[in-house]
Amino acid sequence: MRVLVCVKRVPMTGGTIVLTEDAQAIETKHLGFAVSPHEECGVEEAVRLVETHGGESVVLTLGPPEAVEQLREAMALGIDRAIHLVSDGGEWDPQATAAAIVEAIRSDEAANGPFDLVFFGNESADAGGYQVGIRAARALGRPVATGLKGVALDGAAVRCEQEAAGGRDVYVLPLPAVLTVLEGLNLPRYPSVPAKLRAQRKPIDASTPSRPDARLEKLRLVVPEGQSKEAVILGEGPGAAPAVVEVLQRIGVA
């Protein structure tokens, strides 16, 4: 089977978010980057499916030249090769992102045959648009199930589970299909050192799509006010226990 997983490079924010001077982005000078968390589970699931059923796994990203790091991380977990849509670092809105990904999928499928499954994160950690996977599925004419925490292949269909009030909702989709997943779907492995070295030699197919005008057009980012407090220090060490219990009693939970 052929499986594609789409990932996004996002900064690993610490305790406080600091913006660039023009308020167009997070100041990342002192930050590391990672694959957005939900998609990390998509990578793991793609690797497991191909380990079990055979075939090829591919990772795709639309991101700046530095996003090669995230493609290599995915390949270190076992993905076979990568497609890099190199952006200028500017913001691609969800519609433009989906359109570029769909074009890349069509072009890869024309050469190598259809992907049985295409994984997306349910929403990216940073922009949180909740739509790229659904848009791509519509453009490709494939069914899509979202917010998944369970995926099991069953012949020419895939059984999907989504958390719902009081349990899990089950969907059964014919292949080929698009799935958007959530963290918790699986526990991603840690890459071994040999796997990291192998990843350095795996192929990356790079191209540079042009960015259309945004129709959801970011003007600026704002750090919300009123998040900061000054904690009342109840004490130091175990001697503070009576003061903690007093607070719990006052609130009425002790």
Binding site: G15, P37, G128, G129, R138, L187, L216, S228, G235, P238
Partner: protein
Amino acid sequence: MTVLLLAERTPEGLDERTLQAAALARRVAGGEPVHALTVGGGGELAGELGEHGVATLHVAEDEAYAAYAPVAVARAVAQAAARARASAVVAAGTERGNEVLAHVAALVDQPFAANCVEATAGEPALVTRVRWGGSLLEEARLHGAPKLLTVQPHAVAAEPTGGPPATVEPFAPELTDADLVVRVRERVAAAAGGVSLADAEVVVSCGRGAGSPEGFGIIEELAGLLGGAVGCSRAVTMAGWRPHTDQVGQTGTKIAPDVYIACGISGATQHMAGCRGAKTIIAVNIDPEAPILARADYAVIGDLHEVVPAVSAELRKARGG
């Protein structure tokens, strides 16, 4: 502009997040009518929707709506928006609200702004939306027609207007078999367990500072004494120490307890996005500079391995045991 509101139902009636979305829908409408849509029944909600400023309730009737099918709901939204001549469609930013509006956006090939906290009508519309699970806001221009947006849950207060019941207009949406390929086939009930993290009144959580899976023993003990649930950080679940269902955070569970006791939790934005709903936060941290001290109401500076058992012992003492 006329606005169509997608109303989500619960077994008890209207989802409270729909009423919050109704408040923002009225702002976008700017005095023009607000219509609402329910699928597979819901006419009995005309009174409650009217009280929240909805003039007309479109009820999409088709037996297909017995099971949730996102594309079929999106078709009804697109057709109801056309019937109402709506210039904007608003839904609650729930999992389903976001899913359905993304399908509508894909069907009509228009932009969609998820999880807005503010929106002003205009061409283009101006929206303020949530990023990073609420740690950051984005101000944006929303182009296209109709404007498609969802409302961040619990960010906009519901505003009853005391209006008369909405006029109910049933209609039969045009659906194809392809619209029903993706639908809920069955609901598997969750195993009955202890206190659910999302609904717990007290949550006691711990980060990597627990040291090991066994290190959570003292956290479980304190949570047990308080009748609460155990939570943890993302680092803990990624290490495989606790199941993902215990994770508090942007990509884990969003909690809203009366008291959140965060032990050895540094206060990364990823974590804080999950506990913004906590009424009181008590932090136990060895580092007096930890970012969580700027988010907590109370703090104990110290080693959680000493402080947590001392709090449990003190609680027992206070109860005379």
